[in-house]
C-alpha cells in the first residue's frame, strides 16, 4: 500500500464548520511535504456525537455515508484523534452484526490515521522545518491518547519546531471536561473539570496551548476567552504549518 504519495483528508465537523483555518493548515503541511491532497467534498460527520449519546442507529447512518465517501481512498488522514478513534474502534462495534459492512469498517479503520500519527509513524518525520516563536504547552486529548495510543508523536513534532519552547503542564493527560453533549447537559461538572485544566495551562506559563483535537481546544478556548486570559489555543497543524501569532 502506498501511504506516502497522496492522502485523502477527513476533516472533523468542528473544523469544517467552525475552524476551517485548521483544515487549511493541514493542507499547507502536505503541500510543503510534496504529498498530494484529496478531499471528498461530500463528507460531513463521522457520527461520533450520535454514538456518544447512545443513538447508534443514527450514528450508523452517518458511518455508512462516511464509508461510501471514503471507501476507495488509499490513505485517510484526519486532524482529530477522537474522529479516528470513532472510525477505527467504534465502527466495527456498530457493524458487528453485518459481516460485509464489518469487514469494510475494519478495512477503513486500518488506513485511517490521525495527523501526527501519520507524520511520525507512517512518514517517519519529526522535523517538518517549521518555525513558531513562543512557549507552547500540550493537552493530551483522551480519545487520542487512550483510544488510539497517540502520546509521544505530537511531542516529538513540537520539540522540533524552531523558536518554540515546549513546556509540559501538570496533568496534561487529564480530561478537559468537554465530553460532547456532556458539556451542555452537565455544565457544572464540565466547568469544574475545565477549571482545573485552565489552571494547569496558566501555571505552565505557556503562551500557547495546543493539541490534536479541536473539540477539546474549543472547550479550553471557551473558558480562556470568557475569562480574558492571554493564552492562545492553536491546533498542532497550525503550529506545524508555521502560522504566526
Amino acid at each position: 500500500m502506498n501511504y506516502n504519495k497522496k492522502v485523502t483528508l477527513f476533516i472533523q465537523c468542528i473544523i469544517d464548520g467552525i475552524f476551517p483555518e485548521v483544515g487549511f493548515a493541514v493542507v499547507r503541511i502536505f503541500n510543503k511535504l510534496g504529498i498530494g491532497v484529496e478531499c471528498p467534498a461530500e463528507q460531513t460527520c463521522c457520527g461520533q456525537p450520535a454514538f456518544n449519546s447512545g443513538y447508534r442507529k443514527e450514528a450508523k447512518r452517518a458511518a455508512e455515508h462516511f464509508m461510501e465517501v471514503f471507501g476507495e481512498a488509499e490513505c485517510i488522514v484526519c486532524p482529530s484523534g477522537s474522529c479516528v478513534n470513532m472510525v477505527r474502534n467504534h465502527y466495527p462495534e456498530l457493524f458487528r452484526d453485518n459481516a460485509k459492512l464489518l469487514e469494510r469498517a475494519k478495512g477503513i479503520g486500518v488506513k485511517t490515521f490521525e495527523l501526527t500519527e501519520y507524520l511520525v509513524d507512517v512518514l517517519g518525520l519529526e522535523d517538518l522545518g517549521s518555525r513558531y516563536d513562543g512557549r507552547i504547552t500540550y493537552h493530551d486529548s483522551c480519545h487520542l491518547m487512550r483510544g488510539i495510543g497517540v502520546k509521544e508523536q505530537p511531542r516529538k513534532l513540537i520539540r522540533k519546531i524552531r523558536g518554540a519552547e515546549f513546556v509540559e503542564m501538570k496533568d496534561s493527560d487529564k480530561c478537559c471536561g468537554f465530553g460532547g453533549a456532556f458539556s451542555v447537559k452537565y455544565p457544572e461538572i464540565s466547568t469544574a473539570i475545565l477549571e482545573d485544566k485552565v489552571k494547569n495551562i496558566i501555571d505552565s506559563n505557556a503562551e500557547i496551548v495546543t493539541g490534536c483535537d479541536m473539540g477539546c481546544l474549543m472547550n479550553i478556548q471557551g473558558m480562556l476567552s470568557r475569562r480574558g486570559l492571554p493564552v492562545k489555543t492553536l491546533h498542532i497543524a497550525q503550529l506545524l504549518a508555521g502560522q504566526s501569532i
Partner: protein
C-alpha cells in the same frame, strides 16, 4: 432498606463542587492514590500487562460461577461452616438478623464491606435494636457522624481533622484535639471495647477461592482480622461473583488489588478464612456463616455485554483517576458504589432509567479503564447504557429517556448523508447564532439547551464558509488556471 438516591446526582454533584474541603481532599486523594497506582502498575515485574491476565482470570471464574460456588460451599460446609445463598438483599439481611437474634447478639462489630452497604444491613440491624459498630477508622468516623461513605477505600475523605476532633469530643467524651495520633488512639480504645464485647463479627469478602474453599479479606488496620476472630459468631457476605478457581490466582489478584486500591504492594493484613475455629485453634469464631448474594447479579451474568462488570473487585482505583469523581465526590452517586464503577454497576442493579444521570454524567475519557487492576472496559459499558436510554430496551426494562432528542438525531442522520443539506444546516445555524455574537466573533450567551456551554465559556461563531465550501472553490480555481 437500601438507600437509593441516584435521582439527586446533579444536585449533589453541585454541592460537592462547591464544598472547598471536599475539593482539597479529592485533589489530594487523586494525586496520591491515582498517580500512585499508575506508578505501582508500571513497577510490576510483569508490567501493567498483568492487568489483562487478571481480567482473564476473573472472566474465567465468572464463566464457571455455578461450579466454583458449589465447590466453595461444599468445602466450607465440610468444615462445619454454614453457607446461605441469598437471592436478594432482603433474604441476606433477614438471614443475618435471625442468626444474631438466635444468639442474643446486642452488639456486632463489622469490617469494612461494600456489599453490606448495598443490602442496607446497618439500617436493618438498627431497626431491630442491635448495634452494629463499624471498625474501619474511616467508616467509624462516618458512622459516628451519621453519614454515608463517599469513597470505597477512603470513606471519610470529605471530613476535616477539626470536624473529626469535634465529633470525637462530642461522641467519645475526649477533650477537643486535631492531633491524628490522639484521635486514632481514642477510636482504638473505643473500638477495642467493642471488639471484646461483641457477640457477632460481620465482614465482606475480597475474593474467595474454590480450590481451597476459603474467603480472603484484607485490611490495613487489622480491624477485619479482629472482627472475624474475636466474636463467637462470624457472618461473612460476598457477592456471588467474588470468587476465583485457584489459590494461585489470588497472588496476582491481591497484588493488583493492593496496588489499585492504595498504591501498596500488599495490604497490611490478609486473612484466609474457611470455617469456624477447630478444636485446638486458639482464635476464631465458634460459628461461621457465609452469605452468598445474588441481588441482581444473575441478570448481569446473563447479559454477555455487561458480564464483564462482574470481574470488578471493588478496589476503588477507578475513582482515583476519574475527572468527574474528582470534582463531585462520592455522595452524588446515591448508592453504595461511587465513581466509574458506580456509574456502570448502579444502573444495572437499581434500574437504568432511575440511575440515568450516572451514566450520562460522565466524560467518557477512559481514564477508569487504565486505572482498573482487572482492566474492565467501563467506557464501553457506559456507551451501551446510553444506547439503552436512547432507544429503550425490553430486556432491561428501560424506557426511552428523551423522545425529542431521538427525533433531532433522526433528522440529523438524514442531513449528514447529504452534503447540500448539511451546508444548509451550517448556514442556518450560523445565521441564527450571529444574533448572539459578542466581542471578537465570540458567542457568549447561547439560547435553549446550549445555554450550559456559555454559563462558563464562549464559543467561536461558525465560519462564514465551511472548509469544504472553500476547498471546492479553490479546486475549481485550480482547474480554471
Amino acid at each position: 432498606m437500601t438507600r437509593i438516591a441516584t435521582e439527586n446526582y446533579r444536585e449533589e454533584a453541585i454541592k460537592g463542587i462547591n464544598d472547598p474541603v471536599l475539593q482539597k481532599a479529592l485533589a489530594n486523594l487523586q494525586m496520591r492514590l491515582g498517580r500512585g497506582a499508575e506508578e505501582a502498575y508500571r513497577n510490576l515485574p510483569e508490567g501493567p500487562g498483568l492487568r489483562r491476565k487478571a481480567h482473564e482470570i476473573r472472566m474465567n471464574a465468572i464463566e464457571n460461577l455455578d461450579v466454583l460456588l458449589e465447590l466453595l460451599a461444599d468445602k466450607i460446609r465440610s468444615r462445619g461452616g454454614h453457607v446461605f445463598f441469598a437471592e436478594d438483599a432482603d433474604a441476606a439481611v433477614t438471614y443475618c438478623l435471625e442468626t444474631a437474634q438466635k444468639h442474643n447478639v446486642r452488639l456486632a462489630v463489622k469490617g469494612k464491606s461494600m456489599i453490606t452497604e448495598e443490602i442496607g444491613l446497618n439500617d436493618a440491624f438498627a431497626a431491630a435494636d442491635i448495634e452494629v459498630a463499624e471498625t474501619d477508622l474511616g467508616e467509624y468516623i462516618i458512622q459516628l457522624a451519621g453519614e454515608h461513605p463517599s469513597h470505597i477505600i477512603a470513606p471519610a475523605i470529605h471530613k476535616t481533622r477539626s470536624e473529626i476532633g469535634l465529633l470525637f469530643s462530642e461522641k467519645l467524651n475526649i477533650p477537643y484535639t486535631t492531633d491524628p495520633e490522639t484521635l486514632t488512639r481514642a477510636a482504638r480504645k473505643a473500638l477495642r471495647e467493642k471488639f471484646l464485647s461483641a457477640g457477632m463479627g460481620i465482614s465482606g469478602c475480597n475474593i474467595a477461592c474454590a480450590e481451597t474453599g476459603h474467603i480472603t479479606v484484607v485490611s490495613n488496620e487489622g480491624n477485619i482480622r479482629m472482627s472475624t476472630t474475636l466474636p463467637k459468631v462470624h457472618v461473612a457476605f460476598m457477592g456471588m461473583e467474588r470468587i476465583t478457581a485457584r489459590l494461585s490466582d489470588h497472588d496476582i489478584l491481591f497484588r493488583l488489588l493492593s496496588r489499585g486500591a492504595a498504591a501498596q504492594k500488599m495490604a497490611g493484613y490478609v486473612s484466609y478464612i474457611g470455617g469456624p475455629r477447630i478444636s485446638g485453634q486458639a482464635d476464631g469464631p465458634d460459628e461461621f456463616h457465609l452469605v452468598i448474594i445474588d441481588n441482581g447479579r444473575t441478570k448481569i451474568l446473563a447479559d454477555n455485554e455487561f458480564r464483564e462488570m462482574l470481574c470488578c473487585i471493588r478496589c476503588g482505583a477507578c475513582l482515583n483517576m476519574c475527572p468527574v469523581y474528582g470534582e463531585i465526590g462520592g455522595h452524588a452517586y446515591g448508592y453504595a458504589y461511587t465513581g466509574p464503577v458506580g456509574a456502570v454497576v448502579t444502573p444495572l442493579l437499581v434500574g437504568i432509567n432511575r440511575a440515568k444521570d450516572l451514566c450520562l454524567g460522565e466524560t467518557l475519557c477512559g481514564a477508569c479503564k487504565d486505572a482498573c487492576p482487572v482492566d474492565i472496559d467501563l467506557p464501553r459499558m457506559l456507551l451501551l447504557l446510553r444506547a439503552k436510554l436512547a432507544d429503550g430496551d425490553e430486556k432491561w426494562n428501560v424506557k426511552r429517556e428523551n423522545t425529542g432528542e431521538k427525533i433531532l438525531y433522526g433528522i440529523w442522520s438524514e442531513i449528514v448523508r447529504r452534503r447540500w443539506a448539511y451546508d444548509a444546516m451550517l448556514n442556518l445555524s450560523r445565521e441564527g447564532l450571529r444574533l448572539f455574537t459578542g466581542k471578537e466573533g465570540m458567542i457568549s450567551s447561547f439560547p435553549f439547551f446550549l445555554k450550559g456551554w456559555t454559563d462558563s465559556r464562549d464559543m467561536k461563531l461558525p465560519a462564514r464558509e465551511s472548509f469544504m465550501l472553500q476547498w471546492k472553490k479553490s479546486e475549481k480555481q485550480k482547474r480554471v488556471k
